[in-house]
Structure formats: C-alpha cells, structure tokens
C-alpha cells in the first residue's frame, strides 16, 4: 500500500514537472484579433463593480501620438491589463490617463466625455482605422502596420516624452541571439528600433538582464507565455506570428 502511494505521488509529480518544465505545445500561437482590434484592451479593474461600463483602450490610436515609454515609463502604467491601480481620483489628480486627459492636451474627465472611454466596446473607434492604415507602411500581422518604419519615415510623429528636454539614448547595439534549436537561424535584436519607442528601464533589468547571455530561461516557450519579448510582441507590438521578423534568415 505504502509503495503504491509513493509510486502514485512520483507519477503525479513527474507529470506536473514535465508540463511545467518541458512545456506543452511550443507553437500554439495565440489567435489574432482583426487588425483594427489588435492591441485594444478592456480595462475593468473596478468599473463594473461601480456600475460603470469598463474602459476601452486602443493602443494603435495612442501610439500614433505617443511612444510606449510615455505611458509605460513616465506615467507608470503596468504591462498587464488591470494591473495598474488607476482610480477616478488619480485621473482627476493628473495621474495615469489624467496626465493627458485633462481637457487641455486631450479631452478631459468630464460628464459629456464618459462614453469616449467608459463604453465597454473593444472595437470602439475602429471606423478611423482604415484611413490610418492606408497612410502607413504595411506589415503582415497585428495591426498590419509597420510601426517602426512609419516612425522612421516620419509618417507618424509620436512624442518621446511629456517632459521637454528628453530624447532617446543613442544606443544602437545590434544583438545576435543564437537559437537553442539546430536549424533555427539566430534572432536579431536591434536596440536602435526599440529605443525610439521605449526607455531602457522598460525592459531592463526586470525583463532582461543587461549583460548578454545572462538572462535565464529566455526561450520561445516562455515568450509564448507573455514573458520576455512576449510582454509586448503578442498583444501590442508586431506579433510573433511573423517568424522572420526576428529570425530573418529562417527558411
């Protein structure tokens, strides 16, 4: 009886371990929403509990005017939906959304504007999308817009900072990351394209160590679990469905 119990425990532990360490199906990519809804989120931390419709937020609309770092670095928005403790009071005090939505920079937090954010509709504002897309360089997945190229060519001019005298750090080191599997070409990481949008501290040191090859567990399996590159490149930035986007020599 005793040994049977042990055997059972061993088997359960092994199954759980294998699931956890060696990982299920590596290529189960997330289904992508339509281009006009890619990167749209519904923020519902407290809204519904307070009988208000949750907030719809569109990344594509905001990133035409502001870089990622303005909100995710300067204004302190977290990278996970509902992880930021935004309150109505905060917004009115000029924090979070209220930093811009103050009636001056963007529409304010006042009566007639409620529905512009608190509409609970993930496709809110999508009628403006086709026109925007027609003006910008094309990409294959996500919003089907090549945002990096759009910025580089000056088709969009997102603000780097809400403060006056800040500019991107002139850091353009190109990394070549060897893949763990044979037959997979190395991934390339251009710092130059990322620092246009992001601050160093958006990725370092929490997500990636700063010394090459010292980031533990950096593997595709975890990227698909919304870690590492997957923090952005599954839901907002160009999705990883385009293998060649990072592994350019892959056949």
């Amino acid at each position: 009886m005793h040994s049977r119990l042990i055997l059972l425990l061993v088997l359960t532990a092994l199954i759980l371990l294998s699931e956890n360490v060696f990982g299920g199906n590596t290529f189960n990519l997330w289904p992508l929403p339509s281009p006009e809804e890619y990167g749209n989120i519904i923020i519902d931390r407290t809204s519904r509990n307070n009988n208000v419709k949750p907030v719809s937020f569109s990344h594509w609309l905001h990133r035409t005017k502001y870089t990622c770092r303005v909100c995710h670095f300067e204004l302190g928005f977290e990278f996970n939906v509902n992880a930021t403790d935004i309150t109505e009071e905060d917004n009115k005090n000029g924090l979070f959304c209220g930093a811009c939505h103050d009636g001056k920079i963007a529409f304010g937090h006042s009566g007639e504007n409620c529905e512009k954010c608190h509409n609970g509709d993930i496709s809110y504002g999508s009628e403006k999308f086709p026109e925007l897309r027609s003006k910008l360089p094309k990409a294959e997945y996500g919003n089907e817009i090549d945002w990096s190229q759009a910025l580089k060519k000056g088709a969009i001019k997102p603000k780097y900072s809400i403060h006056k005298d800040e500019k991107p750090l002139d850091f353009d080191k190109l990394l070549e990351l060897r893949a763990e599997w044979s037959g997979i070409s190395p991934a390339v990481f251009p710092h130059a394209a990322h620092v246009q949008w992001l601050d160093c501290a958006n990725c370092h040191p929490d997500i990636f160590n700063i010394k090459k090859k010292t980031t533990k567990h950096f593997a595709m399996k975890y990227i698909l679990e919304k870690k590492f590159c997957g923090v952005c490149h599954l839901s907002v930035a160009l999705p990883i469905d385009n293998c060649k986007g990072c592994h350019p020599k892959m056949r």
């Binding site: 042990i6 425990l9 061993v10 532990a13 929490d206 010394k211």
Partner: protein
C-alpha cells in the same frame, strides 16, 4: 533501492516541483512599480510576530526629511539590509538603534506621560503592519511644495536639501562624536563599459551631505579609483550603488540621471 532512498527521491521531486511552480512567474516580466508613498518603506520583523506583536513599518521618507542617512546607518549603526540589524526591545530601551532618538527627547518614546498624568503607549506608531493607525504625517501633504522627481518617492531630495526646504540633522548628542569635516574629494567620472552608453558623473559633494564618507567607504567601495570593479547588473542586484539606489534613493530606472555625459 531502499525505502528511505525512495523517500528522499520523492521529497526532492516535490521540492523541484514546488520551486518550478513558484519560480514560474518571477522571471521575464516587469515587476510592479511601487507607489510614491510606498517607496523606501520597509517592514522589520525579526522578533515581532514571534512575540505576537505587529511588525514595524519604517518609512524612510519621513526620517530622511529630518535626518541624514549617515546618522542612522553610521553613527547609530543600522545595517543596510532589512532585518539584518536584529533590533530588540531591550536594545531600544538601552538607547541603541531606534531608542537613540525615540526616547522622549528627540522623538516620541514607547510610553509617554500625557499632560493629564496618564501614561500613553505608542506601540502602534511603529508596530503598525496591517493595522489601521492614524499617523501624524501624511506623505502626499508632505510632498506638496517639494521639488518633484519622476520615480521613487517622486521627490527630488537633493534639490529639496539644496533649496533649504529640508533641514537635515547630522548629529545626535551622546552618540555622534564631533570631528572636523573632511573637505569633499573631487567629482568622479566613471566610464561605462558598453559602447554608446554615456559616462557617469559621480558627485562626491552631493553624496557626502547625506552619507559622509563612512557609509560607502571602505566596505561598499574601495578608496582607490579603479579598485572596485562592478557592473550595472551588480547594481540591479542591490550591490554597490544599488545598496541605496533602487530601494531608498532614486531607483535605477532613471538611466539618464547618472549616465549623463554625452558621448563624443
């Protein structure tokens, strides 16, 4: 295989499983940012809960608005890591650590005689973890009127001191031994290793106001330039500059605050 070996195997397997489950979510993602009032606040629980008392919540922002870092971390002898000092109630009663100031003269003591002759216990004012305590000072009221900073407490402490909005006490009678002040050594330029990364201008002057010499030298940093070799990753791990910057002094998120020198 003996039964005992099997047992060891099973136990170690579960230990592995436990760690793989617990560790699973702690890498590859961004850590949650602390709110300005939470930054630099620590919870000390060496003995409290063992004695069924709420742990101590210590607010750096409140103390550094009146005292230099050096006073507590050098003269009074507080360690730089939470829990490392191992403060006991007896220590405090003997005038060590918190008791150096919290003695009814410099600051409130554990028990105070009120004007009506009754004794008032102040336990809750420090042993306040997860308790609803009404504090004398509110962070956001305090912050108003002080120069702003992006991260950490959102206060530019250096500027606030510079503009004489804060008056810092650097000595406590009976503890601090008066010595003639050393003149500040020169500002240092520290070169960054990564290509294209701006160099750092380290200001001894700014640091010495708060820290004197002894807080950093010779334990954290050697005194000879180039002697102490460290990387940015060490800093992120709480060593060298990271002993303060990241947990109490402005965090390491603010790259360009130190990496200021333009690269030619």
């Amino acid at each position: 295989m003996k039964a005992r070996h099997i047992q060891y195997f099973v136990v170690s397997l579960f230990v592995c499983l436990f760690f793989s489950l617990v560790y699973a979510d702690t890498f590859g993602v961004k850590k949650k940012k602390l709110k300005p009032h939470e930054f630099g606040t620590i919870v000390m629980n060496n003995f409290s809960e063992k004695k069924f008392i709420a742990p101590v919540v210590f607010k750096h922002w409140l103390h550094r608005s009146k005292y230099t870092c050096r006073l507590c971390h050098v003269d009074i002898g507080f360690a730089m890591k939470t829990g490392e000092t191992g403060i006991t109630e007896n220590d405090n009663k003997n005038g060590l650590y918190c008791g150096s100031c919290h003695n009814g003269k410099e600051a409130f003591s554990a028990e105070e005689k009120q004007s009506n002759g009754e004794m008032k216990k102040n336990c809750d004012r420090c042993h306040s973890f997860e308790k609803k305590v009404e504090f004398k000072y509110d962070f956001y009221t305090f912050r108003k009127g002080l120069p702003q900073e992006r991260f950490g407490n959102g206060i530019d402490w250096i500027k606030a001191e510079d503009q004489k909005l804060l008056t810092l006490k650097d000595e406590i009678e009976g503890i601090t031994i008066k010595r003639k002040k050393l003149t500040n050594p020169k500002e240092l330029e520290l070169s960054a290793k990564a290509l294209g990364m701006p160099n750092i201008i380290f200001s001894h002057k700014r640091h010495a106001i708060w820290n004197g010499c002894e807080l950093c030298h010779p334990e954290i940093f050697g005194v000879k330039k180039g002697e102490t070799v460290y990387t940015m990753q060490d800093l992120f791990n709480g060593k060298y500059c990271g002993a303060c910057h990241g947990s109490v002094a402005f965090p390491n998120d603010d790259c360009q605050k130190c990496h200021t020198e333009t690269v030619l």
